[in-house]
Subunit: 462 residues, 2 copies
Amino acid sequence: MKNQLSIACLVLLSAILPGIQTIHAQSHEDAIRAIYDEALVNGQSYEMLEYLSLEIGNRLSGSPEAAAAVEWTRQKMIKLGFDTVFLQPVMVPHWVRGQKETARLVNSASRGSLDLNVLALGNSVGTGPEGVSAEIVEVMNFDELEQLGRENVEGKIVFFNRPMDPRHIHTMQAYGGAVDQRGAGASRAAGLGAKAVIVRSMASNLDDIPHTGSLRYDPDQPQIPAVAVSTNDAELLHRVLESDGKARVYIETHCEMLPDVLSYNVIGEIRGAKNPDEYIVVSGHLDSWDVGHGSHDDGAGCVQAIEALRILRDIRYAPNYSVRAVMFMNEENGLRGGREYARVADEKGEKHVAALESDSGGFTPRGFSMTGSDDQVEKLRSWEKYLGEYGLRDLGSQGGGADIGPLRQSGTALFGLRPDSQRYFNYHHTEEDTFDKVDKRELELGAAAMASLIYLIDQLGI
Amino acid sequence: MKNQLSIACLVLLSAILPGIQTIHAQSHEDAIRAIYDEALVNGQSYEMLEYLSLEIGNRLSGSPEAAAAVEWTRQKMIKLGFDTVFLQPVMVPHWVRGQKETARLVNSASRGSLDLNVLALGNSVGTGPEGVSAEIVEVMNFDELEQLGRENVEGKIVFFNRPMDPRHIHTMQAYGGAVDQRGAGASRAAGLGAKAVIVRSMASNLDDIPHTGSLRYDPDQPQIPAVAVSTNDAELLHRVLESDGKARVYIETHCEMLPDVLSYNVIGEIRGAKNPDEYIVVSGHLDSWDVGHGSHDDGAGCVQAIEALRILRDIRYAPNYSVRAVMFMNEENGLRGGREYARVADEKGEKHVAALESDSGGFTPRGFSMTGSDDQVEKLRSWEKYLGEYGLRDLGSQGGGADIGPLRQSGTALFGLRPDSQRYFNYHHTEEDTFDKVDKRELELGAAAMASLIYLIDQLGI
């Protein structure tokens, strides 16, 4: 009820505030001010995210919900009146979790038996109903695993327990320093004969919520089951091993990879006035993990991309380049959408000047990362004179976005929205990534930041 | 349970990370890095805030909880081993809410009768059990009120309904543009014969939660009761007036101002090595409103101030100046603590080089505001070379903190921590300002930012 009400129209406000000015070749400062006013007074991103989160819910590639999200997004962009709205077909993996996974510390000397909070990792094979039961062996990294060698690993469950380093100010760096355990841990352990792996959740905080996320199996190794365990339970297992010297865990997962499914990238376009055959992309990814609402990851990015286009249209800005809002499919466990978009662009000879993705949550924006030439980075940094007063001062660190990455090979300048990163890994890939974790103003400021960058690239080139 | 667990010691982490380096006349960059490492790996601010929020709870001046907070803070700083810990007596107002207030739209043509979500404004007189019932007259500002004149206001309830302007990027500015209605509305309306006032809550969002806060009665006007109404109900009243042409409201409040009570500022000090008789203050205010936990306002600022001192001590930094953590009493409805501190400092001839307050919530810090000479502002801005990589790039805008304001008359340079402001006015002065709204890392980063600024002032002067 509260959320329903809080996104009611600001009837009163619209009545008493002066009308949002439309842009008639005023200064860049005026244009950006108009973008922000439109986002903050008439914003539609929050209402869109509410629908995507609460009506459709999470939407893993290949799921019925992903199909619903594709159709809803298509209809939404048609309703918003963009010049062209179309679907780009792409075959995507179809992994399903199946019956809820369980894990249990069994007959430990110090704690007896108790349930652990786990989630199967995406793309993982399941244990099936018979489960896997074995002693666990804890390692902090692949070097320690190799040192243990086959004699200490074979037949065991390897427990990867290196935390995200809290000393990084930007949590994305801490994530980058730990996520190899999740992505490659299963195959590395399988190479030494392990029966399964347990990976400490990629989380900034200590709680009971496990974080899923994708693994990639090495084709040369056996495929073994893998689960993420909550950070609290990871700490618990560590203490049990310390006090008891050993611990046995039972894992049961029912996930499996089904045949590929036809899905789509969803694309809305405003045609450019001067260079209609050159493109600027503003994007997010429509798929999410199969827990929570996928509100921060990446419902936020999707509605911000649509909203950026809507803002430019509603302040009557006619772009020089064609601007596309692209909702990519299958970022989470395959990147098929991003690859297909770049392939088709290449095939059709569509020149992409720049691409921007929002895929770090709907938090207060603090700047943009980018991948481009030194001159391009310098140019982005010079725009602090326009963007700084909106809190966008973190400009030009290395980055972009996973889905737009494949466009780099044809020279496209890549940009990533950099929101405040502190809370992202409390929610990322969990049942806690829900609509109520997104603040309306923070989300709107992100959409305005994206529209402003698109405007500057369109006006000043990159 | 979850919160209990999430503040458990990072046992594992301490084991695997390299030890935090202590400072031995390394570079300023190294010192600040050591401050952040200490805050993020061994931080105690979150655990302190948990106690203040959940064990003591809200703590309005003069309440038993405020007394408990004084004693807990004193003991906490003694336990932390600061050189000196002492209480500074100050008489404070003692306003009590009494029996829960109620308000009701009565017999409206379009909606019938329904309850409104209200909170009496702090310092307000009560209606008593007989209540006040009258037609409401809506105004957006004092000009409109004056234009209505006594003939349209006398015997009515004035409804101040100007929203916080969402176009401000920093919500503190939107607050500043609306809060005159809360502070002075009652006396302005009383001057024209109104029986009571209803003020739209000072909030960035639309929801059902009323926001309290203090009013100041003009000694030349009758004191009339005043309540804040939730933003959703403010919108509702506006629509009822629009459709029905009139609306009658019943208000019943039981608040009253009791005689002043003896309370205290709580002060912990590390003695300076070179200039022990000159002081740098790092501060927050210990009192809060009597709803919620007062976690963001201003439990966060208190624990960050204590933590800043603890960090400097635990990295073995010996300051040149004496550094004081000051927990002021009675910021919310009187500022008696801040005034008394400045009065005593002046009386004792204690020179205060600089004072820093955190009183804008425990959100990710983005910089520092300041009140000082142009040279001092320039100096602060030049420290972006040390602070920028920690996200502290918003340096030198006008500001400081209410409690430290009285020190300005003796030339003290004033600083205010500037956290991200987007969510602050969702919670400010409401039952929603609770511990779970504070993120551990965001809080810790604020403490580290404060310790870093104190360090720079201590090393480089201001």
